[in-house]
Symmetry: C2
Subunit: 752 residues, 2 copies
C-alpha cells in the first residue's frame, strides 16, 4: 500500500473541518427580523419533516436492498463458499456505508442550507457582498460535505478492505459503496424532485393563473411547500446525485487502474483518482474563499451596476480560479503518481499526456457552462424564440419549446464526443508496458484511462459547483422570505438578483451533472468489462457487439427504460400536483378571508396541509419509478446475460444523457422565457410582431398579458421536466452502472 | 437464374392492373352535388399544385444526388477502373429508378385519392356500405401501386443487372434503388408533413380558438389548405414511406440471402423476399375485395348500430383475412423455395421454422394494432387520463400527455424485442450447411434470416394497410366536403363516423410503419455488415463493438441526430404555421364580410393564398432537415469509419424507433382526448372531478368549455409530433440504412 492513500484521507478530514468552519460562519450571522424568522422557521420545519420521513423510508429500502444483494451474491454467484461469503458481506457493508454517507451529507448540507436563507435575507439588508458570501458559504457546506464524505468513504473502505487483500482485488470489492450511494441518490432525487414540482405547479397554476397573486405571495397556501421544495429538490437531491457521481467515478477509475497496476506494480494507478479528487477539493476551497465582500462592488442601478451581473461575475471568477488550480493539480498528480517520465512516449512524458487528458475534462466543464447559458439565458436566440412564440398562445409556446429542447442535444453531445475522443487519444499516446498475461490486448488501456482522467478533471470542481447549486435554493428562499416579510425594495432588488443568479447556477449544475455523467459513462462501462474479464478471463468479454441479437434487444430495452422511467417520474408530479391544486382551490373556496381585500382582515392559509400533501405525495410516488429503475437491469442481466446487459447499460446511458439534456434545457428555456416576459423584455410592434428587447418603439407585453399566460403554461410544463425527470435520469444512468458492476457475479453465474 | 423471378414480375403487373381497376371503379362513381364538386375541385387543385412543385424540387435534388453518388463511388472507392465505373453507373441508375417509381406511385395514388373524396361524400348520401367501399378502394389504388411498383422495380432491375453477373453479386448493386426510394420518401414525408400541420395548426388556432368557428367551416381561410394537407401528408407521405420500407427490406433480405445461396447454390434464398411480397399482394387484394356493401349492415342509431363501429369491424375483418392468407403464403413460400425438407433440423423441416418466423412478424403487426389502439383510443386509460388533465388547464394536459407519450414506448418495444428474439430463435433452428470459406462463422446466418422472414411476414399486408391509411384523408376530406356543402345530418353522421375510423387507421398505419421499420432494422444492419465483409473479407467486420471509442462516439451522435432532426422538423411546422396564423388573422381583420352574421352577406375567404403559404413554407422548410439527414451519416462514416457508422446506424435507428413512438402515440392520444371531449364524454361531478363517460349524474364539459380549450392546445402540440416529426423519423431511420449500404465502398476506401 502506498502512502498516497493518506492524501485523500487527510484532505477529506480537512474538507469536513472546512465545511464545519463555513457552517459556523453562516450560523453565527444574525437571523433577521421576526417576520423573516417566522417564514424561515416554517420552511425549516417543513424541510426537516420531509427529510426525516424520506430518509426513514430510504433507510428501510436500503437495508432490504443490502440484505438482498448479499443473499444473491452469496447464493447465486460462482466460487467456493468463503470467497462468496467474503464478496457478499463486503459488498453489503460497503453498500450501507455508501448509503449512510450519502444520507448524512444530504441531511447536514440541507440543515445548513435552510438555516442560511433568513441569514441571507438579513445580510441583503446590509450589502450585496455579504448576502452573496453568506448564501454561497451556506451552499458550500453541502458541497464540501458531499465531496469529502464520498472521498473519505471510498478511501477508508479501500484502506480497510486492503488489509489481508492484495490491492488489485480491492476496487471491485468496494463497488457496493457506489451502488449504495446511487440507491440513496435515486430515491432522494426522485422524492425531492416530485416534492418540489408538485408544490411549484400547484402554487403557480392556482395562485398565479387563477387567483392572480404574485409568486411567493403569503396568501398562497402552497407557498411554503414551494419554498421547502426548492431545498429538498435542488439541495438534497442534487447533492445525492453528485455524491454518487464522484463515488462511482472514483471506484470505476480505480478498477481501470488495476490492469495498469498489475502491469507496472505502481499502486499510483489505483490511488490516482482519490488523490486528484483531494486536489480538487483544495482547488474548490481556494476558489470559494476568493468570493468575499471586499471583491464585490456594491450595485448601483443608476451607474448601470446590476446586482445580478456583479454576483454572477464573482461566482464565475471563483470558478475559473478553481479550474486553473485543477489543471495544475492534475498535471502535478500525473507527474507524481503515473510513473513520471518513465513511461514517456512521442517525446512527451506520460504525465503530460494524462495532464492534457485531464485538462480536456476541465475544458468540457467550461464548455457546458457556455452551452447551457446559450440555451437557457434570455440574451440568446432559443429563449427569445420561445418568448416570441407566446404571442400565438400556449400551443406554439410548447411546440417551439420542444423544438428548442430537441435541438439543444446537438452541441453538448458534440462537445462530449470531442472530449471523449481527445482524452482517449491523449491517453493512448502513453505506451504502457503491459503484459499479455494481465491484459488481453483487445483494449487500449491507456486510452480508456485517458477518458477516466478527463472525468476526474471535470469532477475536480465538484465541490465548488455544488456550492453554486445550493446557493440557488438559499437565494430563492431568501427572495421568498424578503417578499413575504415585506422588506424594502432595495433589499428585494438584491435578493431578486441573487435569485436570478441562482436559477442560472442551478441550470449550470444540471449541465455539469449530465456532462460528467456522460464522460464517466465510458469509463464505468469499461470498468464493468474489466470486472467481467476478472471473472471470465476470456478476452471476448471486451466486445459488446451490437450485431449480436441479445445485445441488440437489451440495448433497445435500455433506451426504452429511459423513456418509461421519465414517464413515471413526470406522472408522479402530475398526480401530486393535482392533489395540491385541489387543496389550494379548496382553501381559497372555504376560507375567503385568505384573500380579503384589506390586509388587516386577512388570515394565514393552512401552509402545513400543503406541505403535508407534497410530502406524502412525493414519498408515495417515488417508489414505483425507483423499483422499475432497480429491477430492469437485474432482469435484463439475469435473462439475457452479462454481455447483453452491457449493451443495455451503454445504450440506456446514451439515451439518458440525451433525454436529460432535452428535459433540463427545455425546462430551463421555458422558465427563462417566462422570466424574459416578466422582466418586460417582450416588445411588439403595431402588427403584433416581436421586436428587439431594447427597441423602445414597441409595446411591452408584461405580466398578466396573454403572452405571459402562455409563458406560464410553458414554464409549468417544463417544471417536472427540468426538476424531476431530467435530474432523476442523471441518477438513473449511474445507478445502471453501479448495479451492473455489483451484480456482475450474478449475471456471470447465470450465463457461464 | 431461377424462374421464381417471374412470380413477382407477373404479380406486380397484375397488381398494377388491379390498381387500375380500382381507380376506374372509383372514378366512374358520381362526383356529387355542385357544392361538393366546388370544394373537391379546390382541394384537387391545391393538392396537385403542391405535388407538382414538390416533385419538381425533389427531382432536381435526386438528379444532383445521383450524380454525386456516382462520382463519389467512381472516384473514391477501391478497385480497378471498370469495376468502379460499373458500380457507379449501376448505383446511380438504380437510384434514379427507385426515386422515379416512388414518385410515380405517390403521384398517381394521390391523384385518385383526391378524386375519391367527393365521390365518397356522394356515396354517403346513399349508404354507409357504398361510402366505405368507395373510400377504401380509392385508398387502395395508392396502396397497391406503392407495393407493386416497389416490387416490380426491384425485380426488374435485379433481372437486368443479373445479365452478365452472377446473381450473388446483384443484390448489392441494386441498393441504389432503396436509397433513391428513401431519398424521395424523406422529402415527400417532410414536405407533406410540414404542409399538413402548418395548415392544420393555423386553421385550428385562429379558426377554432380565436374566431370560435367549428372545424372545416367554410369561413376559415385555411380550411382548404388543411384538407389538401391531409392528402399530401398522409397519402403521399406515408405512401413514399412504405414504398421505401418494402424496397429496403426486399433488398436487405436479398443481400442476406446471398450467403445462404453461396452455401447451398439454391437461388431461392435470394428470390424468396420478392416472391413472399408477391404473395402478400395477392392476400391483400383478397382481403380488400371482401369489404363490399353486401357485408355492411347499414347503421341505425336507435338500434345501437354505430356507423363507425360497423365500418371499423369490416376493415378489421378484411385485415384478418389478409393476415391469415399471409401466414399460408409464407409457409408455402418457405416450402417451395427454402430447400423444403432438405435442411430439416430438430425434427421439423426448415420451411416450418421459417414459416413460424414469418408468422411472428404477422402476429407483431396485429399486436401493434392493439397497442396503438390502447394508447390512442378514448375507451382506454391513456386518453381518458389526458381528458381528465384538461380540467386543470393546458399545462397539466401537456404534462400528462408527455407522460403518456413516454410511457407508450414500453409495450411496443417489448413486442418488437420478443418478435426479434423469437424469429431469430426459429431461424437459428435451421441447420444450414454453410462452408467456412463463404461464411466466417461469427454470425448466425439462419437466425438473422429468421428476423428477415419475420419482417417479410409483417410487410405482406402492406398494400392493405396502405389502403386503410389513404382511406383516412379521403374520409377526412369527404367529411369536410359534406360539412362545407351543407349536407343533411344523416349524411354527416356517416362521413363523421368514417372520418373517425380514418383517424384510427392512420394511427395504426404509423404503428405498423414503425414496427416494420424496427423489425427491418436488424436485417438492414446485418446486410450492411455482409456488404462490409464482401469488401474486406475479414470476419472482424461482423462485430460492432460499443466498447470501441469510435463506435461509442458514433452511436452517441446517431442518437443525437434523431433529436436534432426532429427539432428541425417541428420548428419547420412552427415557422410555417406562424405565417399561416398571421395570414388567417389578416383575412379576418381586413375582410369582415367573411364572418358576416347573415349567411347571404358572407363572402368566401381567399383560400388560395393559404394554400400558397403552406406550399411555399413546406417546400422551403423541408430542405434543411433533409440535408442534415443525408449528410450526417456520410460525414460520420467518412471520418469515423465503416464500423463506427454501423454503431451510428444501429443506435440512431433505436432512437428513431423510440422517439417516433413517443411522437406518434403522444400526438394521437392528445388528438383523441380532444375528440373524447367533443363527443361529450367528459363528465364531472359537483366537486369538478372527472367521472365515468356514461355516468349521467355528472355535468358534460363539451365544446367551448375550458377543458375543451385545453384539449385543443394539446391536440395542436401533438400535430407536428404525430404528422411531421414522427413519420419523418420512420423515413430517416431507413434512409440511414440505405445510405450506409450505398456508401459502404466509400467508407471502406477511406478506412482500409
Amino acid at each position: 500500500m502506498s502512502n498516497y492513500i493518506w492524501v485523500p484521507i487527510v484532505v477529506g478530514v480537512l474538507a469536513i473541518a472546512f465545511a464545519g468552519y463555513l457552517a459556523s460562519f453562516v450560523l453565527r450571522k444574525d437571523t433577521g427580523t421576526p417576520a423573516m424568522q417566522k417564514v424561515a422557521n416554517a420552511i425549516f420545519k417543513g424541510a426537516m419533516a420531509f427529510l426525516n420521513r424520506q430518509y426513514r423510508t430510504i433507510s428501510i429500502l436500503s437495508i432490504v436492498a443490502a440484505i438482498v444483494v448479499a443473499a444473491v451474491l452469496y447464493l447465486l454467484s460462482n466460487g467456493d463458499s468463503p470467497t462468496k461469503f467474503d464478496l457478499a458481506w463486503r459488498t453489503a457493508v460497503a453498500f450501507l456505508i455508501g448509503a449512510f454517507c450519502s444520507g448524512v451529507s444530504g441531511y447536514i448540507g440541507m440543515y445548513v442550507a435552510v438555516k442560511s436563507n433568513s441569514r441571507t435575507a438579513s445580510a441583503a439588508t446590509r450589502s450585496l457582498g455579504e448576502a452573496l458570501m453568506v448564501s454561497l458559504r451556506g451552499g458550500a457546506v453541502s458541497g464540501f460535505l458531499v465531496v469529502a464524505l464520498s472521498l473519505l468513504g471510498v478511501s477508508i473502505i479501500f484502506l480497510l478492505y486492503s488489509i489481508g487483500n492484495s490491492i488489485d482485488k480491492v476496487p471491485s470489492l468496494i463497488v457496493g459503496f457506489g451502488f449504495g450511494a446511487s440507491f440513496v441518490a435515486l430515491f432522494a432525487q426522485l422524492g425531492g424532485g416530485i416534492y418540489t414540482k408538485a408544490a411549484d405547479v400547484g402554487a403557480d397554476l392556482v395562485g398565479k393563473l387563477e387567483a392572480g397573486i404574485p409568486e411567493d405571495d403569503p396568501r398562497n397556501p402552497a407557498v411554503i411547500a414551494d419554498l421547502v421544495g426548492d431545498n429538498v429538490g435542488d439541495c438534497a437531491g442534487r447533492g445525492a446525485d453528485l455524491f454518487e457521481s464522484t463515488a462511482a467515478e472514483n471506484i470505476g477509475a480505480m478498477i481501470l487502474g488495476v490492469a495498469l497496476y498489475l502491469a507496472t506494480k505502481n499502486p499510483g494507478w489505483i490511488l490516482f483518482p482519490l488523490v486528484v479528487r483531494a486536489f480538487g477539493l483544495i482547488a474548490s476551497a481556494i476558489g470559494l474563499l476568493y468570493v468575499r465582500p471586499s471583491v464585490v462592488i456594491e450595485p448601483d442601478k443608476a451607474a448601470g451596476r446590476d446586482p445580478g451581473e456583479i454576483a454572477m461575475k464573482q461566482l464565475n471568477i471563483g470558478y475559473y480560479i478553481t479550474c486553473v488550480l485543477s489543471v495544475i493539480g492534475i498535471f502535478v498528480g500525473s507527474y507524481l503518481m503515473l510513473g513520471g517520465q518513465n513511461l514517456s512516449a512521442h517525446n512527451l512524458p506520460a504525465w503530460a499526456w494524462f495532464g492534457l487528458a485531464g485538462t480536456v475534462g476541465i475544458l468540457l466543464s467550461i464548455a457546458f457552462v457556455f452551452i447551457t447559458q446559450y440555451y437557457t439565458a434570455g440574451t440568446w436566440r432559443p429563449v427569445r424564440e420561445i418568448a416570441g412564440a407566446t404571442l400565438t398562445g400556449p400551443a406554439t409556446t410548447i411546440i417551439t419549446g420542444m423544438s428548442v429542447a430537441f435541438e439543444c442535444t446537438a452541441l453538448p453531445i458534440l462537445a462530449i464526443a470531442a472530449a471523449l475522443g481527445l482524452s482517449f487519444f491523449f491517453g493512448s499516446q502513453v505506451s504502457i508496458p503491459i503484459s499479455v498475461a494481465t491484459n488481453p490486448g483487445v483494449i487500449n488501456v491507456g486510452g480508456i484511462f485517458g477518458t477516466a482522467v478527463a472525468t476526474m478533471g471535470m469532477l475536480m470542481s465538484c465541490a465548488y459547483i455544488l456550492a453554486m447549486d445550493t446557493f440557488g435554493p438559499i437565494t430563492d428562499n431568501a427572495g421568498g422570505i424578503t417578499e413575504m416579510s415585506g422588506e424594502a425594495e432595495t433589499v428585494r432588488d438584491i435578493t431578486d438578483a441573487l435569485d436570478g443568479v441562482g436559477n442560472t447556477t442551478k441550470a449550470l449544475t444540471k449541465g455539469y451533472g449530465i456532462g460528467s455523467a456522460a464522460l464517466a459513462a465510458f469509463l464505468l462501462f469499461s470498468a464493468y468489462l474489466d470486472v467481467l474479464y476478472s471473472y471470465k478471463k476470456n478476452p471476448t468479454v471486451y466486445s459488446v457487439d451490437l450485431a449480436n441479437i441479445l445485445v441488440f434487444i437489451a440495448a433497445l430495452i435500455g433506451l426504452t427504460l429511459i423513456f418509461f422511467f421519465s414517464s413515471l417520474a413526470i406522472r408522479a408530479v402530475g398526480d401530486a400536483a393535482k392533489r395540491m391544486i385541489e387543496e389550494v382551490r379548496r382553501q381559497f373556496r372555504e376560507n375567503p378571508k385568505i384573500m380579503a381585500e384589506r390586509v388587516e382582515d386577512r388570515v394565514d392559509p393552512d401552509y402545513a396541509r400543503c406541505v403535508d400533501i407534497s410530502t406524502r405525495g412525493a414519498l408515495h410516488a417515488m417508489i414505483l419509478p425507483g423499483i422499475v429503475a432497480v429491477f430492469t437491469p437485474v432482469i435484463v442481466g439475469s435473462v439475457l446475460g452479462p454481455q447483453a446487459v452491457a449493451g443495455f447499460l451503454m445504450v440506456g446511458t446514451m439515451g439518458g444523457i440525451v433525454l436529460a439534456l432535452v428535459l433540463n434545457n427545455g425546462g430551463g428555456a421555458w422558465d427563462n422565457a417566462k422570466k424574459y416576459i416578466e422582466a418586460g423584455y417582450l416588445r411588439v410592434n403595431a402588427q403584433g410582431e416581436m421586436i428587439g428587447r431594447n427597441d423602445t418603439t414597441g409595446t411591452v407585453l408584461g405580466k398578466k398579458s396573454e403572452a405571459h399566460m402562455a409563458s406560464v403554461v410553458g414554464d409549468t410544463v417544463g417544471d417536472p421536466f427540468k426538476d424531476t425527470a431530467g435530474p432523476s435520469l442523471h441518477v438513473l444512468i449511474k445507478l445502471l452502472s453501479t448495479i451492473t458492476l455489483v451484480l456482475a457475479p450474478l449475471f456471470i453465474a447465470l450465463h457461464p
